[in-house]
Symmetry: C2
Subunit: 247 residues, 2 copies
């Protein structure tokens, strides 16, 4: 077993083009940082994408829930911590904490990942990889936000449509996970963000969209501060579901 | 005069969500790095946005031309260098070089900036600021790419339309400069990028778009490898013009 710390810690600055009109870091950029930190942390412990790819395995993000009491301001330093909370046969839970420039926690996130065989697209037994030593990295650091919820969207009326284009497509040929976060937040008018802020953002990735796919967005108002969104390919197959809680 | 080096040098890694389907860093992300480096370099020399804002001044990007013989691959380290080539009364020319992980140049960029008074929105005489010491930072490092050209777009047929939304708006309340780069590159089908790559990307920023503005895109094919694009607010006022050269 490596002697690496179980909790990885990575420093960032909130760049000018990574903040919104209020000067606050965006959820899309923060989500991107989380995914990068997950990659760094896994790679440093022998479970990085490049090592896995040699065995034709890769990580797939299944769920992400982010809850923030504040967001870094433009040009502010902040730290993302990440650690593994649980490892099961087919999933692993990875958590994140965001610390402001004074080192105080301003938010947390939970994510769920699966590993798949890139040839068969079938899930891999995580406990069979590297003799199951992924379990040695589990840490009991506290993550005081709720687990992912089940997101149900009954809405039948489409509120937006978008066609997947060049800049949306990642190296795997799929629409990149971060784009959905931006698309979903773009469904709300600026006036929402003027008087409220997003406290919790949750997303469940169900299927992959590809270049040229017509993504249709269905939005349901559960309450004036809670919205559920479903993204459907050509209005049928569900690609992902999101939940946005304002305050 | 400060004893800072005239050429600033900044290291980056091509992150997984910052590369396209070919695994190459995108022009949008590279442009964002350029603008950040410009900010770091200026701030270190007393001409940063935050110092300027105290005097109610700010920098405005007027033109950007990027020419690349290659792009960093996913997870590769690269370096952005930046320096001031010229300072005139109303404009300054800032150049960039991109070095690959072996320290070899793989591309260059030229940018033109003005300084404005945020109250009057009028240009500021650059040689009057800090006793004109911005001129002390001029460096004659070579930038072996062509200067900006004049971009003319006669096309009257709209090829795309986009409404400026929450995630497009920066801290100044304007559509952020990088979004236009992505929008323009999204006007070309993936098949273009499969068989060609962008050698040169040029953009001239004319006016600012705001939340809710309807941005209409007009594209002109000058040759099978050269395209000019004009972005017009509500199909009338010109917001920016771009030129894309493939090879």
């Amino acid at each position: 077993m490596s002697n690496k710390e179980k909790v990885g810690s990575y420093k960032f600055i909130a760049e000018p083009f990574h903040v919104d009109f209020k000067g606050k870091l965006t959820f899309g950029v923060l989500g991107n940082h989380f995914l990068n930190c997950a990659g760094f942390h896994a790679a440093d412990r022998g479970f990085g994408i490049s090592e896995l790819n040699e065995e034709n395995y890769t990580w797939v993000l299944s769920r992400l829930a982010i809850e923030m009491i504040d967001m870094p301001n433009q040009n502010e330093a902040f730290t993302v911590q990440t650690w593994v909370e649980n490892v099961y046969r087919l999933f692993t839970d990875r958590n994140f904490a965001v610390l402001n420039q004074d080192g105080e926690p301003i938010g947390y996130a939970r994510s769920v990942w699966a590993m798949i065989n890139m040839n068969t697209r079938k899930p891999v037994d995580l406990l069979s990889i590297h003799g199951g030593n992924i379990a040695d990295y589990v840490d009991d650091k506290e993550c005081p936000i709720e687990k992912h919820s089940r997101i149900k969207v009954a809405a039948q009326e489409m509120v937006d449509m978008s066609i997947a284009r060049y800049c949306d497509i990642d190296i795997n040929g799929h629409v990149n996970s971060i784009r959905y976060i931006e698309h979903i937040l773009n469904l709300f008018p600026l006036q929402f963000y003027e008087v409220m802020r997003v406290r919790r953002f949750e997303i469940a990735y169900i299927a992959e969209a590809r270049y040229g796919d017509e993504l249709k967005f269905y939005k349901e108002e559960v309450s004036p501060v809670e919205y559920h969104v479903e993204v459907r390919r050509n209005g049928e197959e569900v690609i992902c579901r999101g939940k946005v809680l304002f305050e």
